[in-house]
Assembly symmetry: C2
Homo-oligomer: 414 residues x 2
Amino acid sequence: MDAEIIAIGSELLTPYRQDTNSLYLTEQLNQLGVEVTFKDVVGDKLEHLKQVVQTALGRADIIMLMGGLGPTEDDLTREAVSAALEAPLVRDPQQVEALQKRFAQRGLPMSDNNLKQADVIAGATVLPNRNGSAPGQWIAGTYDGREKTLLLLPGPPHELQPLFEEQCLERLRMRLPPQFIATRQLKVAMMPESQCDARIAPIYAKYPLVQTTILAHGGEIQIHLRSRAASAQAAQQRVDQLAEEIEEELDDAIFSRQGESLEQIVGYYLQMRSATLAVAESCTGGLIGERLTSVSGSSRYFAGGALVYSNEMKTKLAEVPKKLIQEHGAVSAEVALAMAEGIRKRCGATWGLAVTGIAGPTGGTPEKPVGLVYHAVSNGEASDVVERRFPGDRERVRRWASQQALDLLRRKLM
Amino acid sequence: MDAEIIAIGSELLTPYRQDTNSLYLTEQLNQLGVEVTFKDVVGDKLEHLKQVVQTALGRADIIMLMGGLGPTEDDLTREAVSAALEAPLVRDPQQVEALQKRFAQRGLPMSDNNLKQADVIAGATVLPNRNGSAPGQWIAGTYDGREKTLLLLPGPPHELQPLFEEQCLERLRMRLPPQFIATRQLKVAMMPESQCDARIAPIYAKYPLVQTTILAHGGEIQIHLRSRAASAQAAQQRVDQLAEEIEEELDDAIFSRQGESLEQIVGYYLQMRSATLAVAESCTGGLIGERLTSVSGSSRYFAGGALVYSNEMKTKLAEVPKKLIQEHGAVSAEVALAMAEGIRKRCGATWGLAVTGIAGPTGGTPEKPVGLVYHAVSNGEASDVVERRFPGDRERVRRWASQQALDLLRRKLM
């Protein structure tokens, strides 16, 4: 079964806004064993919309339309589908009543425009929308002799997602042949994508029935495995077997086996050891703290930290001896180690983690170029420092530095 | 003139990856006076691709195809366009030579596959790609009696963007009627979108020739103005006049008039006053520091800061008296003010900025619910504190809190 996803709205044809619903819907459809073969974005023009729906009817089994269900003149999805299917729009008295009730409850006057939202395509099932005024519609029938399913869904994600899960998922499942999909996700830190692929390609090539997708971003590689089979067990076994072989090959470069983030994994390890962490950040300026504290419950292991952009602050807040900075420079292995140990002591934490470097675009020298970053970790007894030269712009250098620092700590905690 | 943008690649039909090139290309096309009327995503299937190109030929003047130009069997854009236009593919000896040279320079063997990249659609102009092996192609001609322009562009953004700017922009401009586009962007902090729109809708409604787009995200509203006219002056005058009226209405809620970020604006103000800033962050955990230091050159005004998640750290690093925390609780106006003043003194900065709150999802109480955040600023003489209750999840609360803190400082600096 193939699906086509159509995002509707002129704002999605500007440089400022992008459809994101289709990623969510693709994930949901894939889980049902349905592949997405086309995605379209079309503006609020009846003729354009009708044409896109007609094209989709000619090539997809399931057609998901998102947006254009509101009360304004620009909301034309109902009209376009009605025209494409040559099925009339009928004003549903139950829906009119529901709208009147909704407005009355809020003490708002209802303009005539709003009645449009009670128009239903003949033969469609209305899908009530508990987070907005525009209901969805479900149409299942034959078109040109083939079974087609059309879903009209509201555009805002907080309306679309619950409506889809509560009212469309089961309906779709019942129309589809029973299928079982198993997925796994492995994550790898600080490895070049080409190197990762070269190492695992001979492995996943042996599993043609598992779809392997490799994505790299900001010092992190995600390996997505997906398999479809007639039984849940068969599908699961296949992805698990491939995952195991990949884990054996990549070993401790893999930091996550269930999709957890690196900051979550570091948090798990710290909690497991009843340990706490303090950070001293120079060029990352708060990014490492921000990532660690983005995890709910991080107060159990995150003690605190210091943002030490200047030499003076490195001394004042992270207890780095002035002399050390004068001798080696602020961007040096020695200062990174002193920062990690200094902040650890200052915060009374088990571990100290520190980063000092040159994020650019200015501030580089021939000896210490932009992208040079030192990452250090210490627990008072053992310590470690990693030097890296990251290519790319300020944002990229900072992102990679935060990733390297967290991965350094992870390896120490393992 | 209307354009259609076609993104090619099966990976763009998975839940993991999204076309972003089309936002860039839309911006470029809009600047030339061209509107984008359709966007499509299609996988690496010849039949699908050919069909999409044919549909586009029937409805758009300019067709931009991105991706599918590589050397693998999945790269079928050349073949599909050739089939749709009924124009043969010709292997270009110059391109073969260029490929051979490229591989020799890198000391790599060239497989026969790579020769595909030297195939040119009859009549097309080759667009050399200095950042990759796949050149682009430019096709201009009549199709079914109408003038059409097709661009075949490589998929990776770092190849596509320079290739487009260096080799397509002028060619396109020469094919288009002379047009002038003027744009302006205003940004507003910490105002509900509906309130902003209610205040400015009566103003922009008077300017039907200016396209006004309002976007809201994370405590920030962007107002995009765009106008097209026969002279640069006329277009500029129109957007400037509307911008002026909006500025008058929204007054100091507008923090940016040229698209600058809030952290950039705060930086400008601090530099203008030769002032420095220190931050103490509890629930934002580094986000404010991260935003401030994302600006290159921020070391000139960002002194440093402390991440003070626990009560102990608030006392140790930000000099908040223990008694104050015991009396009022860590999430209180009193502690926020003491944090701002404490970190200011500790870092020897002109200004101190502090945030303390409950980001959730746990940790809330009936008196101090999730989302309650205190933001404080102090320069030793004057100080101010703002209490807010933000709805939404942990990420949203933290984002809004960082925005409120920076906006509070901005207003003090104005």
